[in-house]
Amino acid sequence: MSAVDAPERSDPSGRGAAFSGTTGGEELTIVEPLIFARSRDERRGVRFPTASDRALNHADGQPELPASALRAAAPRLPEVTELDLLRHFNRLAHLNHAIDLGFYPLGSCTMKYNPKVNEWAARLPGLADSHPLDPEPMSQGSLELMWLLGELLKEVSGFPAISLQPAAGAHGELTGMLMTRAYHRANGEGETRTKVLVPDSAHGTNPATASMVGYQTVTIRSNERGGIDLDALRGALGPDVAALMITNPSTLGIFEDQIDQVIAAVQDAGAIAYMDGANLNAILGRFQPGAAGFDIMHFNLHKTFSTPHGGGGPGAGPVGVSERLAPFLPSPIPVLAEGDADEVRANAWAGRSTPGARFALDDDRPGSIGKVRSCHGNFGMFVRAYTYIRSNGGSGLRTISDDAVLAANYLRVRLRGTYDLPYDRISKHEVVFSGRRQKREHGVTTLDIAKAILDHGIHPPTIYFPLIVEEALMVEPTETESLETLDQFVDVMEEIARTAATDSAAIKRAPITTPVGRLDEAAAARRPDLRHQFADAPAATAPGSPPTPEAPTA
């Protein structure tokens, strides 16, 4: 399609209107130029002090940097004012969809409301300015918070031990598989147990993680009800199997109703039962994986416990483990070094510190797999998750899952006449429809449907996942969306299905209200353009001598 016959861009949402008619320097087609286009020589934002004479005098007696170590040309960073900067990033912000703007039923991602008091807490100077290597007497608040969060996550999950260190869900998986390997090695089976079983409905991170640890992945098929096929599982289990990695509820949004038999079969075979906790939001207060017999589970604090996803991170992926895996947890672990745990917990729940209690980092753990991240993990996420759990309390956490599951089931029954529902049974936090009927009857694919949803100010569901559902549409409404929002989504999905039947070309043109239309990802991958290329002019020259404060580069 040439620029001439591009569709008229209307903007009922109002989101893109600010950009109509904007130009971006030489590129007339972009809505906000790269920051480099706003740069002008010697324009400044933040300034810093200059060194005092006394500082320079003392510094003079110290060795100078060798000329060979100095930079030849200054980095061509943008030169802009703070106002330029803010306009640029504020305008970019306008190009995003976000939870705080509208419905975001992205399956498997738990896009719930991120409470603002959590942000307030994470920015408290006493926490944000705490250095991870500050001596323990100065870090008692940070250590107590980590210990308390660990206690709460253990209580929620039923695991007796925990590490907060992993930085994301996949990082928790890696930690879990490394512990699995360490466990089998400690039992003399490190060389014989070489396989990890993964259901065909699993997230891609599960097999990728198993490979990173040197395991061979064996795929276990699902049965006709969407659960793991127990016979296939039993057939695959043996002395060469290290672990089963299973997501429960599964990526189909279905609770494994034979989960007790699954766990028993895995453990009878001497393997480790690993639960991917991505979908924990469905089962708070209803199912405790640790109590049910799982050996390892990672949490996604950025899903279940509402830490904002930040456009792709940061997350946090703590792992809970059974007693037999506890020795292998990453080090160090925050511990209550002095004081009575029951008393400290009771006081903290009442908002009080416990006199005489002392928290410490236990790094003397010979069985540990080591560290998986520098310092102690994504501490800022711990602050938010702790705030969230304390705000909701035990009763609130139960209601979260109840409402999340009720909302998903509501959408299931409301939309199952409009879209195919390959596994029509009680779902948990999400429900997976199929666009196969629309594709077969009208040539409208799930991708087309997703793009059409964008024109209604709603983020589409996860599409083409799980892989076992043809033309999958994976919808996770979460517990924080009102009934009006759910009904509006139903209306939108029904309208799209009607349009698909009557005017499929209109769906194929979507989206038409977004800042850009469908982007050619195949062409982008063929000729990767991954960074701004400066014009041919040589870069500015940095000082060739040891730096002095009088001679900043321009």
Binding site: E27, I30, R43, A51, A55, Q62, S68, R71, A74, R76, L77, P78, E82, L92, L95, N96, M111, W120, S130, L133, D134, P135, A167, A170, P207, A210, S211, M212, A291, H309, G311, G312, G313, P314, P330, G370, V372, R373, F379, I389, S391, N392, G393, G394, T399, V405, L454, E479, T480, L483, E521, A523, A524, A525, D529, H532, A540, P547, P549, T553
Partner: protein
Amino acid sequence: MVYSPHTEADRARMLAAVGVATVDALFDDIPSAVRAGDWAVPPPLVEQDVRAELARLAGRNRIPDVSFLGAGVYRHLVPSVVGEVIGRPEFATSYTPYQPEVSQGTLQSIYEFQSLICELTGMEVATASHYDGATATAEAALMACRLTRRSRVAVSAGVNPDYRRVLETYCSGPGIEVLTVPLDLAETGSGTTDAARVEALVTDDVACLIVAQPNFYGQIEPMRDLAEAAHAVGAQFVAVVEPTSLAILEAPGAYGADIVAAEGQPLGIPASFGGPYVGLMAARMATVRQMPGRLVGAARDGSGRKGYVLTLQAREQHIRREKAASNICTNQALMALAATTYLTAVGPAGLHEVADLSSVQARHTAGALEAAGLAERRFGGSYFAEVTLRLPDAARRHAALVEQGIVAGYLPERDEPALNDTLLVAATELTSDEDIERLVAALESTR
């Protein structure tokens, strides 16, 4: 639940639509043997009470009045605009940009981030971020193993001990051997990677040599020579750098680095007791298909409009599953935006001022302590903004200063027994002349 929108009438309507009497019926598929019982999670708190609880915990920390502690995490000025930008809900409450048409803000800012990191490092391609400097370093080592089809890696003992521990952990899974190249720790030594040991250890079965610049003890490494030593045996040269130093120190691309890994925390991210930070990784286009993690590239829509998309995804776990270059999925996108905002806010002149003043104040600190006869440099050679000092009775005096609200630095003895009675002292542009005076006076009082 504090954030529930549902009235009891709403719930009743939904239950009726679903065709069940109670919400409990929606959990009947959980086998009764493994249903959860009661738990001891405390009751809910209203906002003023939850604030009081968090304020209690924050108040239990003691933020030092004066600190010379760095050791991989640095207290720099975080310009106000950084918090303003990353606090915007359009950035903070969006997911991974899988639908590019409604994610151009995130995607373009990541493209800008990649461009800035390339510019800073002198490399051709940078990823969209990693968890932190340590995991970026470990992933760089695994990438080098894929590129060379070798299964041993060499790492200088001058690389942050935390990073080396993470590297060991990552390598233990696939059975990659980690060789540590010691530093020249002799009393008058250089404090840099021992050249003779490099020659002995970095042989033609080693996938990479990993060296930090400046190294953990603040010393300037001869990066060109080390890169040549790695290349001579067909190994990749991995540079672990401190990003603000790159305003003054040579860009890794110019001295032959094949892969660059770094902790981006100094770029506008608070210490926050260890995270969230952002791992940086950059490399050459020739090896881009072995890089781990997300990449954003430019694209066009059907009308020729320019936009940005996640690209080269055939390397990643959601496409390649067990054959992926890494399992990384969620990264540190919002922290990458903080770094992008920071580098834009300070610009080339501001970054130079930060690097320069940090270096001057580190040298000022060392000079003042030496002039007072309290400490002396442990190594010869030059250092950047952190310096290892010989300080008699270091551990006791460090502890004594903590009592006064001063953190005098880091005790390297924790990781390297040969460095007993030394102190690793860091300065930044926030280190004032008065801070240095207080350190001198406090150490004087502990003689």
